[in-house]
Symmetry: C2
Subunit: 279 residues, 2 copies
């Protein structure tokens, strides 16, 4: 079942600016035991993305109600909720209509059947040839202009590789195609600063918050692939997979280390509280 502006539909108007220009935002969220994990945080990010793009936010309460309705319609232990908000329909041309009626689309998808050993033993990653462009105006936002990620993800089909890491055009490592990236070096936690590219993920922000709370210094900065490859531990995260340690990037091997394992436990506890809407 898909809900478009609250109605069960599977099609969107051709004139919708999401289709015409990628003029919108999205959220991808884990559904566990019928509950949407950390929904409020995702809705806050969606609201803040709407503010940056000047799209009227459809409202947290409305979306929450529709998300609940959708989850009830398809009871399964685990699923993925995708929420898309666009600037709605408008005439031909980039100029937004004077009165914007945002379109909201909520859809439920099967939870991907990732092997559990990805979380435990780690995954293999590669560096993508496709670079992230630099665009401060759109950096951090989870918008619908995602051709860079599509091009990067299309680079490999080898099922032994689970994620591709993307550099920006200045050779800074930024993130995975569908994940944020962290590394640990000398008991500091590092992740890319997202001022010019990248998506500021919800799991990324929770991990940073939990790490600071635990006394683990967190540094947002720009780093190269050499710096990454000399790390003690490396992991990627997103709202569907949680945390996957990286055990290999190209020919460099890493151990699944104690800092990553500790953050995995903290994140898991946090999101478990999150399904009860405490977070």
């Amino acid at each position: 079942m898909i809900l478009i502006n609250g109605e069960s539909k599977e099609y969107i108007e051709i004139s919708d600016r999401g289709f015409q220009y990628g003029d919108g935002l999205f959220e991808t969220i884990e559904v566990r035991g019928g509950h949407v994990v950390c929904l409020q945080r995702h809705l806050e990010r969606l609201n803040s993305g709407c503010l940056r793009l000047h799209i009227p936010f459809p409202g947290a309460e409305l979306i929450s109600l529709e998300a609940e309705k959708l989850c009830r319609s398809m009871p399964s232990n685990r699923a993925v909720l995708k929420i898309i908000v666009t600037r709605g329909s408008g005439g031909r041309g980039y100029r937004p209509p004077d009165v914007i009626q945002a379109t909201r689309v909520l859809s439920l998808h099967p939870y991907p059947d990732y092997p559990t050993n990805y979380s435990e033993q780690g995954i293999v990653a590669r560096f993508c040839a496709t670079r992230l462009g630099l665009n401060p105006a759109l950096a951090g936002i989870k918008h619908l202009n995602r051709l860079e990620q599509v091009m990067a993800r299309a680079e490999w089909t080898d099922s032994a590789i689970q994620e591709g890491l993307m550099l920006d055009i200045n050779d800074h490592v930024i993130e995975g195609t569908m994940t944020n990236l962290f590394y640990i070096k000398n008991n500091n936690l590092y992740t890319a600063a997202l001022k010019q590219s990248g998506v500021a993920g919800i799991m990324r922000s929770i991990i940073m918050m939990l790490s600071v709370e635990q006394g683990l210094p967190v540094v947002e900065h720009m780093f190269t692939s050499d710096q990454l490859l000399s790390a003690d531990e490396v992991f990627v995260c997103n709202s569907v997979i949680g945390i996957w340690p990286i055990k290999q990037i190209a020919t460099t091997h890493f151990s699944v280390g104690p800092v990553t394992q500790s953050i995995q436990i903290q994140l898991s506890e946090f999101t478990s509280r999150g399904i009860n809407n405490e977070q």
Copy 2:
């Protein structure tokens, strides 16, 4: 009437990757006297964009036939044809499906009622605050990731201003929100090099070709707003408007000069031949 994969429809599947990720391309073309102006050139660019994005091109013959069908269905002297090609439907996630069935959407729109004095007396332009990001992988392509243009076009509502000029993040002037930009200085024609951002327009390429044929040197380079403001003549172009001279940018005034007028005549003659599919 809208043709989606050859059938008259007004809605697209939610799962279409054009909607999910802006994963596609488009063309916007003038229809004059029932004929699509310079259609073959637009289809060549569409084909070349498909090659760069690894989307199977639906075929020039098929799209031409559908364009003709659409034009017959809505006889009017002038109209705008929009062609969108996306990577088609696919599951959740950036990875393209193993077998890609491209979606093609052809739609006909009323010709905008621009006053004729825009072509004759020129227009007023402004500099946009929204910058173009740098992305060599996508530069030049007319893809569906158009949030930058949407944000730039949303900056003004004053109907006395007809176009906004966009700089990249390195302060180079690149193009208008919906147009390519040229300036003339000492009998040379200049336009932005589009290696890192911008759309390589069909009218832009024709203007460059015609100018070289006429012995007017054409230079593609990176230039600043100061260089632009010290030009002898300035104009913008696209496939719907043809050429609009710029008579004013911010507080700087320009004359509609002889070089621009000469290029206007040449372009007009060229596109008139183009409606008979000679070009």
